[in-house]
């Protein structure tokens, strides 16, 4: 391989060079800024994790699998997975192979940024370069892979339904410029390399193309314009990149190490939150997933639009989107990148100032002092269970049947667990409620606390510190009672479909235990969308602004999802879901406690009587 130009430079590389320097400069500036926005502790944690061998290997593996191969997307949708990985991995391979070529043939040029990208322009083939044929073949192969991906992307822009996506976000003007320049890059590269293939050499794609072009063009005049066009397309793409969704490419490479370092979002706008906002690729998977999207009026309130408005700094829309969300967590569950939509919303709510501060000094904390001493179980039913009294009654009956000595903490009204306050973004008030409850519970002298509401359970496990007290969800507790033989199951004849409540499933990761429990007592059916994909019942306290009337559509859509199976009744494990579904359902809606109570007998062991 010999060089065509002794200077190793041609002015056509300038657009690419300018774009490249701009984008690198922007990214370095962004990384430094974000590092400074992190708290000292987080920054240290992050930097240490970068040099820890274990996290280092995990970072490399995750970046390779998620950013280049899109493994998660493949698992979800093969067509989309192929489309994205063909472009990302193909492009990566072309850049890598370009560098290998330069290192093999012209190692003295490796310090030039543009050389590996425009290698075929700068070299001419000599007899000694037959070893390059494999590299040339690979180059053409990966270019073909990318072009197939671009072809799919074009089809998807017109008919997204073919790719399993009903709705995609509308791209802004800059995003369109970015998109079309990205589409232009690879066909232009093919053209440019084809025009020079008789000089620089090529493979199965570029050599036949070169032959065809020479049949009717016959001269080399087209060579330079196509290389210029290729360089300009690259330059345009890179200079708009920081202002488009393509910023997710560098941002995701920052997000993955930060997540692996165990960082948490602490500020609504700065640091890790900023990285998440930029890492959102605007794919729009969250639009179809969002339970609110059944109503057209809510289409622009899902996470993809939240990140967009956060980038634009549109405060009015940020507040609107943050307040409307049900915080069901489905967008986070389906997100390929790991944008924590619900958390970002809660933190944005927390930015708001309230003139009236809460004051809970009237709440006495000694009401239960010593009430649960001597191994009694403390039972907390939660506020919402008071609207579904059958849950508390069933729990009471179960405790009696199993011979468990218990103390019902909030039978005649008690203090809220604090989660509604927390999700409303009033973090200080929520902490005050937590403090009150902690005092009450610690004074009761209990060593086990059973919680029957998943909203409260999530709060108790995540935000409370109750030393010496085992907090158990009632599903686990009832299962224990059955296993110990203190409750004897009787099989029921109804077929139940189990609805995963958001806070229990996506919130606490409890999917199998309720099904196992239900399976012991009756036959169960599965809804079309279940487990992590379960649809919010629409009653969620997460939403601040959705009115009662607007929730009906969401509830009906969630019920439709449950109706698809041949179930006689709906089972769930959340008082809020039970109350919400019962309003519109055409078949009975029962909480797990009711079902277990219905289908079990007590069998007291002699030593417990």
């Amino acid at each position: 391989m010999i060089e065509r130009f002794s200077s190793g430079f041609h002015p056509f590389v300038l657009p690419f060079l300018a774009g490249m320097i701009f984008v690198l400069g922007y990214c370095v500036y962004g990384i430094v800024r974000i590092l400074f926005q992190l708290s000292g502790e987080d920054r240290k944690k992050f930097l240490v994790s970068l040099v820890t061998p274990k996290t280092f290997v995990k970072n490399i593996r995750d970046i390779f699998c998620d950013c280049l191969l899109h493994v998660k997307l493949w698992k979800r949708n093969r067509l989309l997975g192929y489309m994205h990985s063909s472009i990302a991995f193909g492009w990566f391979m072309i850049i890598l192979l370009g560098h290998i070529e330069v290192m093999l043939f012209l190692p003295e040029r490796i310090h030039l940024f543009y050389y590996p990208i425009f290698f075929n322009f700068f070299v001419a083939e000599a007899d000694s370069t037959i070893q390059g044929s494999l590299l040339f073949f690979l180059m053409d192969f990966f270019l073909l892979v990318i072009l197939s991906g671009i072809g799919l992307a074009m089809v998807k822009r017109v008919r997204s339904r073919l790719f399993g996506m009903r709705r995609t976000p509308r791209p802004s003007l800059l995003n369109q410029i970015g998109l079309y320049s990205l589409w232009a890059i690879f066909p232009l590269r093919l053209l440019a390399e084809s025009f020079t293939a008789h000089i620089s050499g090529g493979s199965f794609l570029t050599i036949p193309a070169n032959w065809v072009f020479r049949q009717f063009l016959g001269n080399d005049l087209n060579m330079l314009p196509t290389w210029w066009a290729y360089s300009i397309a690259l330059g345009v793409f890179m200079s708009v990149l920081p202002f488009t969704r393509y910023m997710h490419i560098p941002a995701e490479m920052m997000l993955i190490p930060m997540r692996n370092a165990g960082l948490k979002v602490r500020n609504a706008r700065k640091g890790f939150a900023r990285v998440q906002v930029y890492a959102c690729p605007n794919c729009g998977v969250c639009i179809d997933a969002c339970p609110m999207s059944v109503d057209k009026a809510n289409l622009k309130d899902c996470t993809v639009y939240l990140t967009r408005q956060l980038r634009r700094g549109n405060e009015r829309r940020i507040a609107e989107i943050s307040d409307k969300c049900l915080l069901c967590g489905k967008c986070e569950a389906v997100c390929q990148v790991g944008v924590e939509g619900p958390k970002l919303r809660v933190l944005n709510r927390a930015e708001r100032k309230y003139a009236v501060k809460a004051d809970y000094s009237d709440i006495p904390t000694g009401t239960l002092a010593g009430a649960a001493e001597g191994g009694k179980v403390l039972y907390y039913s939660g506020c919402m269970s008071q609207l579904v009294p059958s849950i508390g009654r069933s729990m009471e009956s179960l405790f009696r049947k199993a011979g468990v000595d218990f103390c019902w903490m909030d039978r005649d009204g008690g203090v809220c667990c604090g989660r509604p306050m927390l999700t409303a973004g009033r973090l200080e008030e929520a902490r005050e409620i937590v403090r009150k409850n902690t005092e009450i519970i610690l004074q009761s002298g209990a060593d086990t606390m059973v919680v029957s509401c998943p909203i409260c359970y999530k709060m108790f496990t995540e935000e409370y510190s109750l030393p010496g007290i085992r907090v158990v969800h009632y599903v686990h507790y009832m299962e224990e009672l059955l296993e110990q033989g203190r409750l004897v199951p009787r099989r029921g004849d109804l077929c139940y479909v189990y609805h995963d409540p958001c806070e229990l499933g996506r919130g606490c990761g409890i999917y199998e235990e309720p099904r196992r429990l239900l399976g012991r007592l009756s036959s169960i059916a599965e809804a079309e969308k279940n487990r992590a994909e379960s649809v919010c019942c629409g009653g969620s306290l997460g939403s601040l602004s959705l009115s009662f009337a607007k929730r009906e559509k969401i509830t009906r859509a969630a019920l439709d999802n449950l109706y698809t199976s041949k179930a006689d009744a709906i089972a769930t494990a959340c008082p809020l879901c039970t109350a919400t579904f019962a309003r519109y359902a055409d078949r009975p809606v029962r909480d797990l406690a009711e079902i277990v109570d219905l289908y079990t007998d007590g069998k007291l062991k002699p030593d417990t009587i």
Partner: protein, 105 residues
Amino acid sequence: MTDFGFTLSRSSALDLTKADTRLYERLCSLSPDARTCMGCGSCSATCTAGPYNGMSLRKVILGLQRGQDVRPMLKGCMLCGKCTMVCPRGINTRQLILNLCRIYD
């Protein structure tokens, strides 16, 4: 004065023409459904904070219409949302309370 064993309580009559309802009007512009409240008291019956500090959303709205200070009641609210669930008029009570907490000055 001679102690007859009973006293006359002060008149609880309100002069609504003198009541300062600006806060109520401002609240209604943010949460228009406040106007649909019919004062049934379902919210107060289910209220978690009620037993502790006398919080009652019915009284809060009534107090605002009469230009009274309702802050002592508001302070006890825990946003648990039971009032939203039981409201027969479908008023988004949690949003109403949050709006009220914001605009008070």
